[in-house]
């Protein structure tokens, strides 16, 4: 039984944030992670406050969070209608766990530029 992950973003220009005056790498990262989840068969819905305020108004939990704690509560992440993260985008591993997906290999392995290093060695990137 597949789960549904809903992300309620703060007001922003585009999902990756590349249109704004500064790049927030976190936005590029979460866009990539959500795309990955979709690829794993998870139903992902994403709503931008400045483009789809109706989705925020139509979700009672989101409404309540906004009333109680203001826009600082965004982003809100819901799994099957329950709030699982507030004010932050969970890491890919966390999202995978919430969706009940077993991650084949750790995400860090994707950084092919770095050879594996022992703990304490200086980082190359």
């Amino acid at each position: 039984m597949s789960v549904t992950i809903q992300v309620f973003d703060p007001a922003m220009c585009c999902a990756t944030g590349v249109c704004g005056p500064s790049i927030d790498p976190e936005l590029a990262r979460i866009s990539a992670d959500l795309e990955w989840l979709r690829g794993q068969g998870v139903a992902v819905e994403r709503f931008n406050l400045s483009q789809e305020p109706g989705a925020f108004a139509g979700a009672p939990l989101v409404q309540q969070a906004l009333q109680a704690r203001g826009v600082e509560c965004l982003p809100l992440v819901l799994v099957d209608g329950r709030i699982v993260a507030e004010g932050t985008y969970p890491a890919r591993e966390t999202l995978a766990a919430l969706a009940g997906i077993v991650v084949q290999k750790p995400v860090a392995a994707a950084k092919a530029c770095c050879p594996p290093k022992a703990v304490g060695e200086p980082k190359c990137c």
């Binding site: 249109c19 927030d24 590029a28 990539a32 994403r46 305020p53 925020f56 906004l66």
Partner: protein
């Protein structure tokens, strides 16, 4: 008038700033209406002066012009369009979502991207949705100066391509699912633009080399966009009546020579010529006379020319060079000579031993051409939207894109292809150039007023966004607005001509700058006949008219200098 033969439904008037696009477009609209057609005249210039020319206060929907039966006019005001766009999104949720949430939506929708899209939506409706203009036989577009207009004409194709290719499901315009209607509209606008039976584009030029060259470049770019039906209007053609007047002879000579050297891109186009008139083209009777020459147009000579001793451009130099570094920006309506004033200042600073970076934010400007050739001590560059956008996209992929997996990088690359990216890329390049003024002299020739205002609005909107931003903000971006507001760091020169519309537009620009907390350092009145002796009747009348406008400038400015008219501008 060639451009009035077998007129298609849509007519566009474009050209370098100050060539008389508004006069020619308006006179054309009046001629069509006088011929019994129902005509809608539309200004797409963010700094439209259609209101002043017609003597009617216009809004975003058609206003009937009572002096011309059959004619209605409107202004596409980007800020007003963006406001309406915000209202459409926010209004249904007042009282539903908390005020703070609504405020954050409004702030987000105040950026350059929203402003451009909102204005573009209005433009697309007029061009792509026949129902929006069903009550008119013709829609005549008076456009902003070239750079801005080319961008507007490119957008239907750019957005259509982006919406077709984008698979990510979201874009700056909103969720793609809701955009099918928009996509059909943009595609229809693009079809209309490229259909020679539906749209004619009229290039307006003066009988001057620079103006004709720009028209030729525009013709080339329009061909590349697939626009089929082009025609040419030469405005302000002057024949000397008094051959003992050296200024008149030089002016006429310049025109004859420029037309003889007509660029090949223009030589084959249907061409009309409009004579230089001794009076200002404000009001319906004057505009009717533009094509017919009829009517009593005797000017008022009761006001003699001013003898006030106004200083020349060089008088500004001691104060400009005092700190040994800083930003000097020339601003004003298109065609008033911003580029030549910027070049003159840069040359004078270099002559005094200061290294200078001379650059421009005008996509259509050609500073290098104006400079003539390399000058010791002057480095020339331009903010090229295409190159800046590519560099910005590469930089984002190199930084934010680096840690992502291939699918994530593809998603990021896709968002970077959005036409919005150009706005931010140009803005960041602008911030970097202003930053250079901390260490040396930077002379910036800005784009014509409307475009520059949007850049400054973007600066304010981005400034607010930067203050609450979590991302990495370059220091140059963070410091941009405070630097522009610091009269010691940035000297703004408002360039104008001794004529009604340029002076009134510069006055409006001064007000807009004031709202942004920016105070012009000086006004430069370019191409003045006042310091010269003229005897040709048309020039005598034009010189007499200057007194009034020099007086207006004197009362509006803290410092004022004049540049005498010259044939080799």
């Amino acid at each position: 008038m060639q451009h009035l033969e077998a007129t298609p439904r849509h007519l566009f008037f474009t050209g370098k700033g100050g060539v008389g696009k508004t006069s020619v477009a308006t006179a054309t609209a009046i001629a069509l209406a006088d011929g019994g057609r129902r005509v809608l005249l539309v200004s797409t210039d963010p700094a439209s002066n259609l209101d002043e020319v017609l003597g009617v206060a216009l809004g975003p929907s058609p206003t009937a012009i009572s002096a011309v039966p059959g004619l209605a006019a409107l202004n596409i005001d980007p800020e007003a369009a963006a406001h309406a766009y915000r209202e459409r999104i926010v209004a249904p949720y007042r009282g539903v979502l908390p005020a703070a949430a609504l405020r954050s939506i409004e702030e987000q929708l105040s950026g350059a991207c929203t402003v451009e899209i909102a204005a573009f939506d209005e433009f697309s409706k007029l061009l792509g949705d026949p129902a929006a203009t069903a009550e008119f036989d013709h829609v005549v577009f008076d456009t902003a100066p070239t750079g801005h207009t080319l961008r507007l004409l490119e957008l239907p194709a750019a957005w259509t391509g982006f919406l077709t290719d984008n698979v990510g499901g979201a874009s700056c315009l909103g969720p793609l699912a809701g955009l099918k209607a928009q996509q059909a509209l943009y595609a229809a606008a693009q079809r209309t633009l490229t259909d020679p039976t539906a749209t004619r584009i009229v290039l307006v030029s003066r009988a001057e080399r620079a103006s004709l060259r720009e028209a030729a470049r525009t013709a080339g770019e329009l061909h590349a966009l697939g626009v089929g039906d082009l025609s040419l209007v030469i405005n302000g053609v002057f024949a000397a009546r008094d051959l003992t007047d050296p200024i008149a002879v030089a002016l006429a000579q310049r025109g004859v020579q420029a037309l003889a050297e007509m660029p090949p891109e223009l030589a084959g186009l249907p061409r009309s010529e409009v004579a230089l008139l001794p009076f200002g083209l404000v009001g319906v009777p004057a505009l009717r006379a533009l094509f017919t020459g009829a009517g009593d147009m005797t000017p008022d000579l009761s006001q003699g020319p001013t003898t006030a001793n106004v200083p020349p451009l060089d008088a500004l130099l001691p104060e400009l060079e005092r700190r040994g570094h800083g930003v000097i920006m020339t601003m004003g309506k298109g065609g008033v000579g911003k580029t030549s004033v910027a070049v003159a200042i840069a040359v004078e600073l270099a002559r005094r031993g200061h290294p200078v970076h001379l650059t421009t934010t005008d996509p259509a400007a050609h500073v290098q051409e104006a400079l003539g050739g390399p000058v010791a001590g002057i480095r020339v560059s331009r903010i090229d939207p295409v190159a800046e956008t590519r560099a910005y996209a590469d930089e984002v992929m190199r930084t934010a894109g680096a840690p992502l997996d291939p699918a994530g990088r593809a998603l990021l690359a896709e968002d970077l292809r959005s036409p919005c990216t150009e706005e931010i890329a140009v803005f960041q390049a602008f911030a970097r150039v202003v930053d250079e003024g901390e260490a040396g002299f930077v002379v910036i020739d800005t784009a014509p007023t409307g475009h520059t205002l949007l850049l400054l609005d973007a600066t304010e909107a981005y400034h607010r966004e930067v203050e609450r931003s979590k991302g990495q903000v370059p220091e140059a971006v963070r410091a941009l607005l405070p630097r522009l507001r610091d009269p010691e760091a940035t000297r703004v020169l408002l360039v104008t001509l001794p004529e009604a519309t340029p002076v009134h537009e510069a006055a409006q620009l001064q007000k807009d700058l004031d709202r942004a907390g920016i105070r012009p350092f000086a006004w430069v009145v370019n191409q003045c006949l006042t310091p010269l002796v003229v005897t040709d009747p048309v020039l005598v009348q034009r010189r007499a008219r200057e007194a009034q406008y020099l007086g207006e400038v004197a009362s509006l400015s803290e410092r004022m200098v004049v540049i005498p008219w010259s044939a080799d501008r």
